[in-house]
Chain length 388, copies 2
Amino acid sequence: MNLRLAKRTQEITPFYVMALLRRAKQLEAQGKDVIHMEIGEPDFATPQAIVEAGVRQLKTGEVKYTPAAGLSELREKIAEFYRQRYSAAVDKERIFVTPGASGAFLLALGTSLNPAEELLMADPCYPCNSNFIKLFGGQAKTIPVDAASRYQLTAAQIKQHWTKATKGALIASPSNPTGTLIAPDQLKQAVHTVNELGGCFYSDEIYHGLVYDENASSALEFSDNVFVINSFSKYFGMTGWRVGWLIVPEEFACATEKLAQNIFIATATHSQYAALAAFDKHTQAELEHRRAEFEMRRDFLYDALLRLGFEIPIKPDGAFYIYANCAKFTDDSYQFALDLLEAEGVAVTPGKDFGLNEANHHIRFAYTTSIDRMSVAMQRLEKFINKG
Amino acid sequence: MNLRLAKRTQEITPFYVMALLRRAKQLEAQGKDVIHMEIGEPDFATPQAIVEAGVRQLKTGEVKYTPAAGLSELREKIAEFYRQRYSAAVDKERIFVTPGASGAFLLALGTSLNPAEELLMADPCYPCNSNFIKLFGGQAKTIPVDAASRYQLTAAQIKQHWTKATKGALIASPSNPTGTLIAPDQLKQAVHTVNELGGCFYSDEIYHGLVYDENASSALEFSDNVFVINSFSKYFGMTGWRVGWLIVPEEFACATEKLAQNIFIATATHSQYAALAAFDKHTQAELEHRRAEFEMRRDFLYDALLRLGFEIPIKPDGAFYIYANCAKFTDDSYQFALDLLEAEGVAVTPGKDFGLNEANHHIRFAYTTSIDRMSVAMQRLEKFINKG
């Protein structure tokens, strides 16, 4: 062990899927066809109006720093978005434009989490979330969840696991990897429970917009005393632009601005100008069209996986993932994923990237590729299972 | 005090210049002319070839995540830059493209600094540097420096102040705020001293290229066992694009990649493609032209400030700052800056933004505005001093 490396580097877990990705690239370099169902990134291009707004700004050549909190006009548009979509009034001063949701997490936890403090979160959940906590010397206290609560933390679990060391709770809805939404009244109870306990509530809403049956509720509908993390990456199709946002409780606004000044200076200027076009009527129409396409893919993949014998207790409500139980085929989903890639050229993400709770019995399938490609993937998967 | 705010938010200092900036904006809104000599950002637009490369990438619409460490082609170009400019061979695997130098600092300290560990650095220095250290629970141990060492830490000081708690030393050359370079043999000694002590050496080289008499040496010329922080912001004129880079000792490469995956996902894609054009021959010619303009400005401002009675023991070698001693006029340079702005509409940065060492006797002037505007500023400054 190297004594110069910070201890936190040993606590921060790598993504197991990276080994799969490396192998997938080798296979592709050898001319083998790999169908990518491991990627958490929409396959659509950025909407044209957003691209054009970015290009317009670049062509001025004046790509200077913006204020640390972001372009005033963009913060106003985000406030308007909450008024319209969620009937929630959010003071612009509480809104911070960030380098993706990653930047939002850095600010939210950097301003609130002390070393040794714990955050409650569901298992399974997105792995970066616990790693952000470890970055600041905190602890992720993961609580196993299942279909009974739609894979979401409940107010009862929050109360049950709360200790003196607990700083707050994090809920992601729709969830990555399960794609399930928390019901509005459950979210409300969770928010109120954390507020009563005097903690911080963090709501990861980065897959909002990508929901297919009913709308997702924002934590801001139930309280101003919440952190909300969101992004232009997923629904708005702007992954590579690295622009997201964070909403903080009023008392955190000054500290958040100070931290943003110090650790980012500002978010990329042209990305912010481009994002101004994200709320346009035409862009919205295009995005809704894409949402419908994702819904068809979900339906296709859900039916196909069930037919092959995977168990999916709840049909996912949103995001672009299905977290399928593969216990019928294997007790080691990581090895299953490696073998599937090797034998049939289908790349998926093993459950152990999302926690410990029944991880070896789960695989995450991302429907970020076309139904045509997924059809081929399902044929290959069927062949792989039947051989096994 | 709010118990929910993380303790580090109280340790992280705000920039005093922000109060001046706010007041400057108010004055401008009232129609008053303000000359900005407080801004650490080149006033030139981004070179055309860089803008065009960014636009080309955007127009593909495929603005997807790049690998966490950055575009392979850009990492190669950076390696080539070190071969050509510094005759230093740097393995591409040690090079990480980051969201500005800010991102480079986050990775360098995030992978190396444990809570309670100390970093030695000069006072005065750039304020964000100590704040990054505090972000991870570390301590900045600032050492007063003066003209005798060109405002740079010496190997002797590093040895003298080294304790069991010391993780390493940070040297910024050219320095912000003093603009002074460390001499090559001094840098070599400092690097070797830290290596012998088993610590980490961090070299902030973000103003490289903007030097006017002799070239700056990179720490990489003397050892592979160093962290080098650099950026496309200053010399390359890409502030708002948020793209920089970090070079790490080989043993830190894996941890750096893991941390980058978790806390950034990746640097903005179009900014990386744009940066590919930064090393082109035509771009380089344009940048050298700008460098010559900055040199003329330095000479103008240096002479003008001396004539007015400011003390500047060493003519700055680089960056775009002059750190002038104003003891002849005031014992409170912050109040001096506030009064100068109010009375004459000239904005400068007070010494206390850069540390404690004789801070109240210093003002930082940035020559990020034209000689014409600086001429007016000097007339106003003279008037202000004579009234005082």
